[in-house]
């Protein structure tokens, strides 16, 4: 008990230094937490994927289209419940800076495929009825202050021309990882317009979303679908939605790896700061430790004392970081909404932050504790300053 009090008193003997150390650790762990959250945000599409959905696309690459006629063939595969054609539209609203994802989809099939899109029934009906209607996510609506009934025009980059459409419905996500920054409009609008503007590009879908009843049969059904179109002009590649999303994530894998590496660098920086503080405070008190040793305290006890001080500092920092992290992440969400639709601090991140707090506390104390333990009493008394 007495030892505990001594630890506490010593840890805050240099109040300014202790506070600075705690702040340093807090900042470093906050940075670590934010970086982990960025990585999570990158993977959000993967975690939001449903096991009951497959994606069929052109085997050559995602940018090659498939004939729309494939829809009927895919539906014939055993175990397939729904098939919806879709296209990445790549439209721009006013300026490239206003980037958001926009897809042309077959609306009715899509509502059946994506139960996580929550739309009021009246709005859903209005969207389904209007071929030039659009369905947008709640966050997208907030970002541009769009309301139901507004008319917007997208400039096509892949499908040239101006594409006016009316917002008919706004959806909310049923789960926290549902992307609410997307715009959907009718695939038939795209197709009918392309029939007029450049007929050769009509009747083509970018991908098919395939709903299956039994998720355990995903591999089998994928093989069956791909076998239909083997050795045709447009061979297909069918994979689970999760694998499809993972494909996007792994494209920027090098960047993700760099961010991961950097998130550990910040832990090292923090370690340097904490170790420095512990080394200084141990050195300054060499004489004191000699007194304690003379009084009969053993080296392990003294080491434990230093460890306690170090832990006290690093855990205070870690605790502070964990408390501040969620609100900081919320502040970032407002600025990064267009890059990362989902930005939520996960419990794993918080656990890792605490774990690293403990690790740093231990590592920072090792060298000073060993020094204090091994130094000879007479030698310690002789040293000044």
């Amino acid at each position: 008990m007495l030892l505990l009090r001594l630890v506490f008193k010593n840890a805050f003997r240099h109040r300014l230094r202790s506070i600075l150390t705690i702040v340093g650790i807090t900042i470093a762990l906050l940075a670590f937490g934010l970086l982990r959250t960025v990585l999570d945000a990158w993977n959000a599409g993967v975690s939001a994927a449903s096991a009951n959905r497959l994606v069929t696309r052109n085997a050559v690459s995602m940018t090659q289209p498939l004939p729309y006629a494939y829809k009927g063939r895919i539906r014939q595969a055993s175990g397939v419940a729904i098939v919806a054609a879709g296209n990445w539209f790549g439209g721009v609203y006013l300026d490239e800076k206003n980037f958001f994802a926009n897809f042309a989809v077959e609306a009715e099939d899509m509502f059946a495929l994506y139960p996580e899109l929550l739309v009021p029934p009246t709005e859903q009906k209005a969207f389904t009825m209007d071929r030039k209607g659009a369905l947008i996510g709640r966050k997208l609506a907030e970002r541009f202050h769009w309301r139901v009934g507004d008319t917007i025009t997208l400039r096509g980059t892949i499908f040239p021309g101006q594409w006016p459409m009316t917002i008919r419905a706004i959806f909310k996500g049923a789960r926290p990882d549902t992307d609410e920054t997307v715009l959907y409009f009718h695939w038939s609008y795209l197709d009918e317009t392309m029939k007029v503007r450049s007929p050769r590009r009509a009747g083509q879908a970018g991908f098919f979303m395939v709903g299956i009843a039994d998720a355990t049969r995903a591999a089998e059904i994928s093989k069956e679908i791909d076998a239909f179109f083997f050795n045709s002009q447009a061979e297909t590649l069918t994979e689970t939605e999760r694998a499809f999303q993972q494909g996007f994530v792994s494209m920027s894998e090098a960047i993700l790896m760099a961010i991961t590496a950097v998130s550990y660098v910040v832990i090292l920086i923090m370690l340097a700061v904490a170790a420095n503080t512990m080394a200084m405070s141990a050195r300054e008190r060499t004489g004191e430790f000699a007194v304690l040793k003379t009084l009969g305290f053993r080296a392990p006890t003294l080491g434990l004392m230093l460890l306690g001080e170090s832990m006290l500092l690093s855990l205070s920092g870690a605790g502070l970081a964990v408390i501040l992290l969620p609100s900081l992440a919320k502040g970032f969400t407002q600025n990064l909404a267009q890059f990362f639709p989902i930005f939520v601090v996960s419990s794993t991140t918080i656990g890792m932050a605490l774990l690293f707090g403990v690790c740093v506390g231990i590592c920072a104390a090792i060298v000073p504790a060993l020094r204090v333990g091994s130094v000879r009493i007479a030698e310690a008394f002789r040293r000044i300053g």
Binding site: S61, P160, N231, S232, I269, V273, F339
Partner: protein, 388 residues
């Protein structure tokens, strides 16, 4: 009179462990700072050197990248027959109609699929890109499905060695050569014959037209002639500017990421410097009192301690830049969001990056050391001497 510089230096030397730890913290911050700047610079250099200033590139109006673009045969032919275009060695116009398609290949390192540009090249395509030369094997013969792959593709992807075949569009495409395009975007491409590749993907339109102008100054005339023609529906860019534009989004992303990271990290390092300098001041109260008693002014004490902090920062900066310089030999390959295709580039260290990093490290030292230095300078002589 100023306190000699060696005083500051020897103080750092005396407290080696503390100095080392603080400088190490700063070195890591500077390392991250330098590495991201190097990455953004490498990306820019690669894409800028991909274009040639004498070349103009025409795309369909409204398309941002060549992958999205499409130019009908008639329109493309009209664009290759302008008087501004130079005459090539074969006596024909130095202009190429090309088609650009993405195909998915498997990466060697991760086994994951990534998109690679396959370019249907025209007769003049090679002459228009003097950076490209054959590295091994031979050039594909026109009129056959033979293809050649860029060096970065050959080293980064599976199944693209000479003698192997790629399969797409119901056909086998034998690989007959590997070409080296230095550190340009072309190194991350595959080239074949445009008239073979177009039907394989069911295309009836080219993607782009590249025109070698007889004088770079003729560009405005060419641009105006093409863009004013209502039949063509095209826009024209200088090739250099076009490729630079392709790096905008990634570069911005890397720079913002790097700068915001280093700002946050630098707070940690500055706090480290502050702790070190405070203890350095606290441990030398009597010494400072003596210096003051000897006649050194407050100002010179302040300068001495600031110098010490600057040296500490510089130490970290040099170590950080040295660490980052090692990255110059590392190649980085990722998907460019804008073109949706794989691009390999190098970390590139330029003098201004070194300068910026060192300045940044000194700044960290100064900010961290300012308050402790002020404390040292404001000490009362008598009280300071009494503590001894």
């Amino acid at each position: 009179m100023a306190v000699p510089l060696s005083y500051s230096w020897r103080n750092l030397h005396t407290r080696r462990l503390t100095t080392g730890l603080t400088a190490a913290g700063m070195a890591l911050v500077v390392f991250v700072f330098t590495a991201t700047l190097m990455l953004a610079e490498g990306l820019r250099q690669t894409l800028v050197s991909t274009g040639s200033p004498g070349n103009a590139i025409a795309l369909r109006k409204g398309s941002d990248t060549e992958v999205q673009s499409g130019l009908e045969r008639l329109a493309a032919s009209a664009m290759t027959t302008r008087p501004e275009i130079a005459i090539g060695g074969d006596g024909k116009a130095l202009a190429a109609k090309e088609t650009v398609v993405l195909i998915g290949l498997t990466k060697r390192a991760t086994g994951k699929t990534s998109n690679v540009i396959i370019r249907g090249a025209d007769r003049a395509s090679m002459a228009l890109r003097p950076q490209i030369r054959l590295f091994s094997g031979r050039l594909p013969r026109p009129g056959t499905p033979e293809i050649m792959v860029g060096k970065a593709v050959a080293s980064g992807f599976k199944g693209v060695e000479i003698g192997q075949n790629l399969r797409f569009g119901k056909r086998e495409w034998p690989i007959v050569g590997i070409f080296d395009a230095g550190s340009t975007g072309f190194s991350s491409e595959i080239w074949g014959d445009v008239e073979q590749i177009m039907p394989a993907f069911g295309r009836i339109a080219y993607s782009i037209v590249v025109a070698g102008l007889s004088e770079p100054s003729l560009f405005p005339a060419y641009k105006q002639a093409i863009e004013d023609d209502p039949r063509l529906q095209a826009e024209v860019w200088r090739e250099t500017r076009y490729y630079e534009k392709q790096s905008d989004m990634m570069r911005k992303f890397l720079t913002i990421l790097g700068i915001s990271l280093t700002i946050i990290f630098s707070f940690g390092a500055m706090i480290g410097a502050m702790i070190t300098m405070y203890s350095s001041v606290a441990g030398r109260v009597a010494e400072i009192g003596t210096l003051r008693a000897l006649g050194f002014t407050r100002r010179s004490i302040l300068t001495a301690f600031l110098l010490e902090a600057m040296l500490l920062g510089l130490l970290g900066g040099v170590a950080g830049v040295g660490l980052a310089a090692g990255l110059s030999f590392v190649s980085f390959s990722t998907t460019n969001f804008q073109t949706f295709s794989e691009l390999a580039f190098k970390f590139s260290l330029t003098p201004w990056i070194v300068g910026a990093a060192l300045l940044f490290s000194i700044l960290m030292g100064v900010i961290g050391g300012f308050l402790p230095a002020v404390r040292a300078a404001r000490m009362n002589i008598v009280e300071a001497l009494r503590t001894a």
